[in-house]
């Protein structure tokens, strides 16, 4: 367990703290290498590649765009609602979002 924490602290983007989950989504969905995935996400969110790993910048961006944040306040978008917006923003299909839409009749 401690290994994951060390990776996050020393070398990884940090998921919802920044845009790590979004970059990984592009690796999974489109088979992108790290640089290409970062450039794609940065362009879609309107930030620089450098800012993509900055928690201060990305928390504001994610909150504004409803992409989910690490410490959600009242009214913040979390869970499936955030994934629906992520799929729209990145221009990809997210499997669980498609299933949810079907089940909810959306």
């Amino acid at each position: 367990m401690g290994t994951e924490i060390t990776h996050t602290v020393s070398a990884c983007m940090g998921g919802l703290k920044t845009a790590g989950d979004l970059v990984l989504r592009m690796q999974l969905a489109r088979g992108m290498r790290i640089r290409e995935a970062k450039e794609y996400v940065a362009e879609k969110l309107g930030v620089s590649v450098f800012d993509l790993s900055d928690p201060a910048v990305m928390t504001e961006i994610r909150r504004e765009q409803g992409l989910g944040v690490q410490e959600p306040d009242t009214g913040d978008t979390v869970g499936m609602a955030a994934k629906i917006r992520i799929a729209e923003r990145l221009g990809i299909k997210i499997n669980s979002v498609e299933r949810f839409k079907t089940k909810a009749g959306l």
């Binding site: 290994t3 990884c12 989950d21 690796q27 790290i34």
Partner: protein, 350 residues
């Protein structure tokens, strides 16, 4: 004479001089280059590795903007199963997402293999659907091909590890081939159920643990998963740096699997349609961290170079990726392995 604190491959600390560290780095590099028939690291890269190993501080980090992403092979049950905290897997996903800051996680059954999951897959899909509703990060479903589970008395196939010592070579080969077919069927079946439940990807973990037939099962299963569900991500993570030739004659895409090192494994994973390759280099527990990480970097630099469009996530955990073979992993060597792999090998993830 200045001595630097580092560790042996069993996790215990050791104080080494600059000359000793540099000698171990060079020896590790040459060992990988010789075994893999690949180029050694350059003098500049070995200097950089020395600086990373001897940096001040318990934890070192990558430069701003060079962070990578992480995938896991823990079955999303590390908190509950390994740490003994009584908490359901469904809750562990948002916990790993919001408290631990993981970029993704994988969900899995405690036994972590597809044969075991097949009979309870409906409970697994119901559980993972709840986790997907309340989480944002990508969630993969993970398990091992684990070909050994198909042998008698647990499975229907004769045990090739018992047949081979008795000289029954043809029977042992046929038994492995039969196990491959059964494993591919189970993996694809479970993957299909998980796809219907909404997962983001399938993590085929510890591939090749039972040898070349085990790796072949993973490649064939991946190929079939991508044919049936093209938009489903697949990660192929390896069991070791070298595919053991338990069968010895098996091929994929015309390439004999026995004896392949990571820079050749990655090409086959990509050919099979995988989107992420989990590369592995084993740790020698009686050698130093400088020797082990130098060896890892030499293999991984070539692996990343040979990868086309597939992301390379290096396994950096207990007993692999330069990390000591001990249960509670020291952050000093983990963070140094991460930094070296990112800055020297340009990996895509961990």
């Amino acid at each position: 004479m200045t001595r630097y604190f580092t560790r042996m491959g069993d996790g215990f600390g050791v104080w080494m001089t600059e000359d000793e560290i540099r000698a171990d780095i060079r020896e590790g590099v040459l060992d990988a280059a010789d075994r893999g028939k690949i180029p050694p690291l350059t003098e500049e890269e070995m200097d950089h590795l020395f600086r990373i190993i001897t940096m001040d501080g318990v934890i070192v980090g990558v430069k701003h903007g060079e962070e990578v992403v992480s995938s896991t092979d823990q079955g999303a049950d590390t908190v509950g199963c390994e740490c003994g905290v009584p908490i359901d897997r469904v809750i562990q996903v948002p916990l790993l997402e919001r408290a631990f800051g993981l970029d993704s996680t994988d969900y899995g059954f405690t036994d972590y293999n597809f044969k075991a999951v097949k009979s309870i897959v409906n409970y697994e899909t119901a559980s993972i659907e709840r986790a997907l509703d309340i989480s944002v990060i990508p969630v993969l479903y993970g398990g091992m091909p684990n070909l050994g589970f198909y042998t008698k008395p647990d499975g229907p196939v004769d045990n090739w590890a018992e047949l081979l010592p008795r000289g029954k070579v043809e029977e042992a080969l046929k038994a492995q081939e039969a196990a491959v077919e059964l494993a591919v069927h189970d993996i694809v079946y479970v993957a299909g159920q998980m796809y219907e439940a909404g997962v983001d990807g399938i993590n085929l973990d510890t591939c090749g643990a039972a040898g070349d037939a085990d790796f072949l099962a993973a490649l064939l299963a991946c190929e079939e998963i991508k044919r049936l569900y093209p938009d489903l991500g697949v990660e192929i993570g390896m069991a070791g740096e070298f595919v053991l030739g338990m069968h010895g004659r098996l091929k994929y895409d015309g390439v004999r699997l026995a004896g392949l090192y990571p820079h050749k494994q990655v090409k086959l994973a990509e050919k099979a349609g995988a989107t992420i390759f989990g590369a592995v280099v084993n740790t020698n527990s009686s050698r130093s961290f400088p020797w082990n990480i130098a060896r890892v970097c030499t293999f991984m630099k070539e692996c990343v170079k040979e990868a086309g469009q597939i992301a390379v996530h290096v396994n950096v955990g207990m007993g692999v990726g330069g990390i000591p073979m001990c249960e509670t992993l020291p952050s000093d060597v983990v963070s140094r392995a991460d930094k070296a792999l990112i800055e020297i090998c340009k990996i895509d993830g961990l």
